[in-house]
């Protein structure tokens, strides 16, 4: 029996709400079928199934919100009815993309007696002890989420308001077990304390607007990246004369609906360069894991703020025209937050293209667990010297941010060199 799990659509996804089952028990499904619609921080996503078989049972109800990795349905593979081995099929690989730390946070959100660590300043801890405040119930606003004196005082005020109507709170001594305070510690420095967390009901949170949900997804992924990934940055100026001339020529022959944008050429050039410098087409999870498929995430900015990163699967095997067709299809749907699960999963590198008329350079923040992000700035006319001659040429500044745990500057430099070579020979793409 195969468990169909709530998929992870990126490091920033914590949970999803099943809005609608598109299949029912006893339905036969095949790879690529839409099994459900799930509301996520990235909009209403059509979830595809990766297994063949017959749906044995739907495990969760419409309207239910479950963490990533939760079994949603049982699928019986064809002709293997008595198979008892618990098999987590191909969805597992996406679930694995979910960072361990995020999973831990989800568990805390549920009913849990797991031990968690809380950062709290010594003065805040003292007040909490004196006033009997449960630190595990407070969200810290200090550095790295540390609970500050203000947080505790606010909690006391709120508690005071609540206790007007309810009585009989548990003594705090049983809830909080604090490590002995270090004598030499600075009074303001946050420290870690272990706290046995008592079972708590999941708080009913106000539903986020789509824009807020996206913002918080971006915040989570980028904070994680900045916290964990030691970035190195490289930059290369690339002469775009030949690429732009090729595009102009190509577009002249194309109907207006099929005209190319530089973005399609950039995506293809990145894919081809990754064929040569495969160390950057990878993820970092307990070490460097190279990926065979070149799946390029392409940053799409939303008008309401925030970004969403749909993926162009196996971009190296597609022509520039095919990539443009995918962009024509995927960008409007990304902006409308109407993507399929396969269009948000499995990207192995990200491109951010700040576009024309905007900033000259963009230095990206790596989308974990990937190990590189390529940034294309505005194509501008610049003085460009070559072979002892100075000329005015269209130039793009290409940047690369690499994960220094995974690769070194020399690798990134080889990649940018390869990219330059392809953009000087656009007809080869």
């Amino acid at each position: 029996m195969t468990e169909f799990l709530m998929p992870s659509l990126g490091a920033d996804m914590e949970d999803g709400t099943l809005v609608k089952w598109r299949k029912k028990s006893d339905d036969t499904v095949k790879r690529g079928d839409i099994i459900a619609e799930v509301e996520t921080q990235k909009g209403l996503i059509e979830i595809e199934v990766f297994d063949e078989g017959v749906i044995e049972k739907l495990l969760i109800k419409e309207g239910e919100k479950v963490p990533v990795g939760t079994p949603m349905a049982l699928i019986n593979p064809d002709g293997a009815e008595v198979e008892t081995k618990k098999e987590i099929a191909s969805m597992k690989k996406e679930v694995n993309l979910q960072p361990i730390e995020e999973k831990a946070e989800q568990k805390v959100m549920e009913k849990s007696t797991k031990e968690i660590r809380i950062r709290v300043t010594p003065i805040a801890k003292k007040i909490a002890q004196d006033k009997g405040v449960d630190l595990s119930q407070i969200t810290g606003t200090g550095e790295n989420g540390a609970i500050t004196k203000d947080d505790v005082e606010n909690a006391i005020v709120q508690k005071g308001e609540r206790s007007k109507t309810e009585k009989g709170e548990k003594p705090v001594e049983k809830l909080v077990e604090v490590e002995p305070e270090k004598t030499g510690a600075q009074p303001s420095e946050p420290e870690l304390y272990k706290i046995e967390k008592q079972p708590v009901e999941v708080k009913k949170e106000r539903a986020l607007t789509p824009a807020e949900a996206i913002r918080s997804a971006v915040a989570a992924a980028m904070s994680k990246s900045n916290r964990e990934i030691p970035h190195y940055y490289l930059e290369k100026r690339v002469d775009m004369s030949k690429a732009m001339a090729w595009m102009k020529e190509t577009n002249r022959e194309r109907p207006i609906q099929k005209r190319l944008l530089p973005a399609a050429l950039f995506i293809k050039a990145v894919a081809s360069s990754l064929d040569e410098v495969s160390e950057l087409n990878a993820i970092w999870e307990n070490g460097l894991q190279l990926k065979n498929e070149i799946n390029i995430g392409f940053v799409v900015s939303l008008r309401t703020g925030g970004i969403i990163v749909p993926v162009i699967l196996q971009a190296d095997s597609k022509s520039v025209g095919e990539i443009m067709e995918i962009l024509n299809d995927i960008i409007p749907r990304a902006r409308a937050l109407k993507l399929r699960s396969s269009e948000l999963s499995d990207s192995t590198i990200t491109i951010t293209n700040i576009g024309d008329g905007s900033a000259d350079k963009v230095f990206g923040v790596i989308y974990p667990p990937q190990v590189a992000i390529i940034g294309f700035g505005n194509i501008t006319e610049q003085a460009f010297a070559e072979n002892g001659m100075l000329g005015i040429r269209p130039v793009v500044d290409v940047t690369l941010a690499g994960d220094h745990r995974a690769t070194d500057g020399i690798t990134g430099s080889r990649f940018l060199g390869s990219l330059d070579k392809y953009l000087q020979n656009p007809e080869s793409l």
Partner: protein
Amino acid sequence: MNEEEIKNIIFQLLKKIAPDTEPSALQPDENIREVLNIDSFDSLQFIVKLNEKLGIEIPEEDYGKIPTLKSLINYLLAKLKSQLS
């Protein structure tokens, strides 16, 4: 098709692309893309839609000739006129 009709079509198409903006508030000499915050992708979509609505094909080399409402309307009027003649 007169200037007013073309203007209305432009506003409709821009409103679809940038629903959070008010294209009809555009001044004749304002840069459309800058004011409405339209990127190169949406800009191409706009030109595709203009083609579908008006049957006018704007070649890539003319993109620079139509940055404002005024220049775009004049460009489209001239194209329509030359199509009729």
